[in-house]
């Protein structure tokens, strides 16, 4: 089955072995001459299974046995993410939301509570918050600015919209008893970003990824949030990051 989708403003033609990926991506359907053609193979699926089992072993949890159709959706995104640096675009693991026309990306190792913190923002701010992507957004860095895109790969709860929003801030989350947020320098942010960015297998694309991270460091502000799961965490994070942005604009 073959269908074309618009992912981060790039037309991607996907030919799959199973129909699931097309259902997964249906809100991103588009027409036009593809700029990237993705054709998955059984080897792609096996590779995803191996990667998944390896990650389970690293996380010290039982190996999860995913259906081939699901693994194929991962393989498709891997193909896309491999190519994206050529278009000044990176996949960054994190939960992204939009508030008043600007996006905020929460990044942290799996299990830290990115999605939980994003949920606190939705509880605190209600309809003013739109989820951009709760798991694997794409970020394009160009002309001194960064834009974050919703994608179909938006986490197990499928939280996200097919939207593009200027990225204002990246917030690294750590669990703590008390809530505290402070700005971090680009130099401190860089290694953290390296941990969360998708690393292409192609060396040239990897080098491009590192250059794009440099540009991202100049295009957004960076914060470290120590937080618990109380809604107060959302309040202090929002006030700090939004307040700083307003001061910068003035």
């Amino acid at each position: 089955m073959t269908q074309t989708y618009l992912i981060a403003e790039r037309l991607v033609e996907i030919t799959s072995l199973f129909p699931a990926v097309h259902e997964h991506c249906r809100e991103y359907r588009a027409e036009g001459e593809p700029e990237l053609i993705v054709r998955t193979t059984p080897e792609d699926i096996e590779r995803e299974r191996e990667i998944s089992l390896r990650e389970d072993a690293i996380e010290n949890r039982p190996g999860r046995d995913y259906p081939d159709s699901y693994l194929e959706t991962l393989a498709v995104y891997r193909h896309i993410a491999e190519r994206m640096p050529a278009w000044d675009t990176l996949l960054i693991h994190g939960s992204a939301l939009a508030l008043d026309g600007a996006a905020y990306l929460f990044a942290a190792p799996s299990g830290t509570g990115k999605s939980t913190h994003a949920r606190l923002w939705r509880e605190y701010l209600g309809d003013r918050v739109t989820m951009v992507n709760d798991d694997k957004p794409l970020v394009r860095i160009r002309g001194g600015g960064a834009v974050i895109f919703g994608t179909p790969w938006n986490g197990k709860h499928r939280l996200g919209e097919n939207i593009a929003v200027p990225l204002r801030a990246v917030c690294f989350i750590e669990r703590a008893q008390e809530n505290r947020i402070r700005p971090v320098t680009a130099a401190a942010a860089y290694p953290e970003l390296l941990r969360q960015v998708y690393r292409p297998a192609d060396a040239a694309m990897m080098a491009g990824t590192l250059r794009l991270l440099d540009a991202l460091c100049a295009a957004a502000s960076f914060w470290r949030l120590e937080c618990n799961m109380d809604i107060e965490a959302a309040r202090i994070a929002c006030e700090a990051m939004k307040g700083q942005a307003n001061e910068t604009q003035e």
């Binding site: 130099a187 860089y190 390296l194 941990r195 690393r199 297998a201 990897m206 250059r211 460091c217």
Partner: protein, 86 residues
Amino acid sequence: MKLKSEFIAHRTGDESFLVPAGGSAFSGVVKGNAVLGEILARLQTDTTPEAIVKGLLEIYDADEAVIARDVDRALGELRRIGALDE
């Protein structure tokens, strides 16, 4: 010896990084100072520990033994993560 092609050396600000492309057995990041950056720069092409030390002595006003120790330590770490072709 030289860096394997799948390992990308990168400098940002005062810091130097060595990052493997995706799929490498080593999935971490090596982070260091400008001296590491100079060592990595020299490993882009085939070289020797002695040539690296000589090159660094032209830049840094430091004791040769100290430079040699730093180079040896860096090469040991690069060897450990499988970043060197030798």
